[in-house]
Amino acid sequence: MRVHVDPSKCQGHNRCYALAPELFDVDDYGNAFERNDGVVPAGLEDKARLALANCPEFAITIEE
């Protein structure tokens, strides 16, 4: 599984970083990006889905 944050949609709500800091980080402006090229380590799939379901800007996508 891979996650991706669309930087043109992210407005820095910071929900993904709060819910799944293993998968997402934020830059100096508070905008999110995926860690480790978006690769979701085994066992963290639910966290990836949780982050997706809580992004107000619909900026996160998941490739299963």
């Binding site: 970083y17 402006y29 508070g30 379901a53 107000p56 800007e57």
Partner: protein
Amino acid sequence: MSETVYGPVTDWATDFDHGSPAYAANQHKIWDDLKNSGCPIAHTDRYGGTWLPLTHEMVHSIAYDTDHFSSEGPVVGQLKPSEVPDRIGAPIGPVPPISSDPPFHNEARRLLLPAFSPKMIDPWRDEVIEICNKLIDDMGDADHIDAALQYSQHIPVMVIARMLGLPVEDGDKFRGWVNLVLSGIGEERTEERMQKFMEFNEYLAYHVNDHKENPREDLISFLLNAEIFGEKLSLEHAVGTVILLLIAGIDTTWSGIGSSLWHLATNSVDRRRLVENPDMIPTAVEEFLRAYAPVTMARVVKEDMEFHGVQMKKEDWVLLPFPAANRDDKQFANAHEVVIDREENRHAAFGLGIHRCLGSNLARLEMNVAVEVFLQRFPDFSVDANEMVTWSTGQVRGPRTLPFVVNARA
């Protein structure tokens, strides 16, 4: 609380008044009744013509459509932006960047973002914990407290005053000006009101000058040195941003904390769950943000246009009721129920699109800590049945008095 200058509302679909006490008291029912009667967007001639879209889809599309909707008037007033004397118009507006439109907005916002990013805000946690505990210490061993007057209203003021570099003890003044700007939108434009605006401007001018002469490590000094498009910010821009940070940083979070505590005072099952499982607080706070979102923003229509079958006129106000979007059952399962462990929660309490609340990380920190400390110190409390809970009017909604009985303390 009194009616606005426009008098009592006759019909919510065609004559609504979002500044009236009746709207503040019954807004959830008003939105439901409107939507159920086939009116997803209400109109009023009040304030020179104002629209109230109620679905998540409409609010979302207006928030994203900066080509047709300007932010130069983020708070609805009795005068249209073009009618206000000496006003700074689009794309900058009087309080950048909330009043700014692209492309100016992007630069004005970008220079502020780092100061409010998660990694700069998280270190404030210990200080907020200390502020909250001190406020509770100050209540002594009283059984009857007011959680708005003695707690929620003070927390954001103390933090933002420190960040800006303004005297923390001037909190009462700041709250007076917040009420003036945000809660008094429907009041007569009396000389007394104008006098208060003058005092606010003089106070800011004094402190800005003091920062010019004695620069220090705070946001006012930062703004006085900041550059945009290769030049220092104009004084109007810097002062406008100070006004924004002060006003927007205070009663919004005060409302968010107050509504959360009000929910816990009136829902003992939820209160007990959080006392027993404090790890659930961050998820519960997101649900309080969804269900009791304090902030409605406004836009100004740029040119005559059609929107979802209604004819909008140039300079009409359009409200963006994020709290109504958050209760749209097309977007949220059981939208009208407060589910404190709701897992899927794309709420729009901090807005949508390019104007996402700059201070959202700080607001979340303050709300989480305020709820956590309150529950630690007062594991059981309820609303005092002999007293009244009162709510603010206007575009920021939250409890302004919260008379509680403390049933247990730790």
